[in-house]
Amino acid sequence: MIQSPLSGDILFSIGPLGIDKAVVTTWVLIGALGFGSWAVTRRLTLRPGKVQAVVELVVTTLDAQIRATIAGEPARFRPLIGTLLLYILTANWSSLIPGVEPPTARLETDAALAVIVFVATIAYGIRAQGLGGYLASFARPSWVMVPLNLVEQVTRNFSLMVRLFGNVMSGVFVIGIVLTLAGLLVPIPLMALDLLTGAVQAYIFAILALVFIGSAVEGEGSRNPPPKQEKDA
């Protein structure tokens, strides 16, 4: 009997609050990422070793991506975009561990990520343009567009959530079905494909969040928006 991917799996409770398996997995991921970050960065040197070079390459690439999308210093957006990218990537790839279901396959997790992006977009927009300027950006290019822009603020974050949820959940679901039907080794190609899908989804989510924030910060849209990523994904 296959468990529905849309249903929760409460492992234990803290008082009246049931702790879902996805939450526990996220805690483990937080611990792993936090410990790994501490282990890597506790002895940073000016002449980097291999691990430090890889970490610096990741941060430098992230900064370059941010700089290519939003003008200005990338340090303002690096924590949020980098956290989204690393968390979604590790969460998606956690499905490779037997018995672990990626937290991003749960709608609550994706909704939380989308809400964070939604709030961050508004916060960055107000911070960059002021409240009046940010609200005035909804009337561009014409006041007629105000309702559409308001709806767009919600729908694009909703699509962000649903896209990630649908891709990851479907991968987990298909692998579960194949695993039930064909045994141990057959799902391996699908798992490899799931690796690629997980990386692509993490990148898409982070980049779209960056584009949304960029459009809010710069008022008239990002400087170099990736073409049609939102609709094609």
């Binding site: 956290t83 690393l86 609550e108 964070i116």
Partner: protein, 238 residues
């Protein structure tokens, strides 16, 4: 399908906590070390540019020093050339003066030598003339003696030569001065000849010679002087 708001809330907080953790333990330290390295690289570049400028200044200074050394070398060479030229000129002048002095001395010496040689030659010529005159005059007879000596010389000739002279045309007696009739008679008597002619020849100096178109018999002071001079010359050459 149900939406678990508790899980949603936990995940919301979890992501924010993760954001804080990664910012504190990953992004900030890595960004700081990158910035520090970039600053160090910029500083190294700045130092390299400063060093390059210093090197450029040092190169320019070296170039200037090289130019100065070149100019000093040129000056030293010019001074040395001038000094050498002056020394050469002085040496040349001294040599010319010494040569002129030597030439003058040599000329004077040569002139003295020539003068001495001329005096010696003159002395020898005088001595020789004296010897010749003494020898010639010691053998000269008086007027009748010349006729007798001519007769002896004619007799001393071989017969064919004597016959050739005596039979020759234009047979005559030559004397440095016209002979008187008495002298002519004495001469003809000494020679045993008759009806021959007489002629005057001052080159004989003194004496009496018998001449014809086929020969002659010498008997004069000029001839004696000539023989004595030839003998002295042959003696000196030997």
């Amino acid at each position: 399908m149900s939406f678990d708001w508790v899980t949603f809330g936990f995940q919301l907080v979890n992501v924010l906590v993760l954001l804080a953790i990664l910012q504190h333990f990953l992004f900030r330290p890595v960004a700081e070390i990158i910035a520090k390295r970039q600053a160090e690289t910029q500083e190294a570049l700045r130092r390299a540019e400063a060093a390059e400028q210093d090197a450029g200044a040092a190169e320019r200074a070296a170039e200037e020093a090289r130019h100065q050394t070149e100019a000093a070398r040129h000056d030293v060479l010019t001074a040395a050339q001038d000094e050498a030229e002056a020394q050469r000129k002085a040496i040349l002048d001294a040599a010319r003066a010494e040569a002129a002095s030597l030439v003058q001395k040599a000329t004077a010496q040569a002139q003295a030598t020539v003068t001495g040689a001329a005096a010696e030659t003159l002395t020898r010529a005088r001595d020789l003339a004296e010897v010749i005159a003494r020898r010639a005059l010691s053998a000269q007879p008086d007027g009748a003696g010349y006729a007798a000596r001519l007769a002896q010389a004619l007799t001393a000739l071989p017969d064919d030569q004597r016959a050739a002279i005596l039979s020759g045309a234009n047979l005559r007696l030559a004397a440095p001065a016209p002979l008187s009739a008495a002298d002519q008679a004495v001469a003809l008597a000494a020679l045993g000849l008759e009806n021959i002619g007489f002629e005057q020849d001052q080159s004989l100096i003194a004496g009496l010679e018998l001449r014809s178109d086929t020969g002659l018999v010498h008997n004069s002071l000029a001839h004696d002087l000539d023989r004595i001079a030839q003998a002295l010359t042959a003696e000196a050459a030997a």
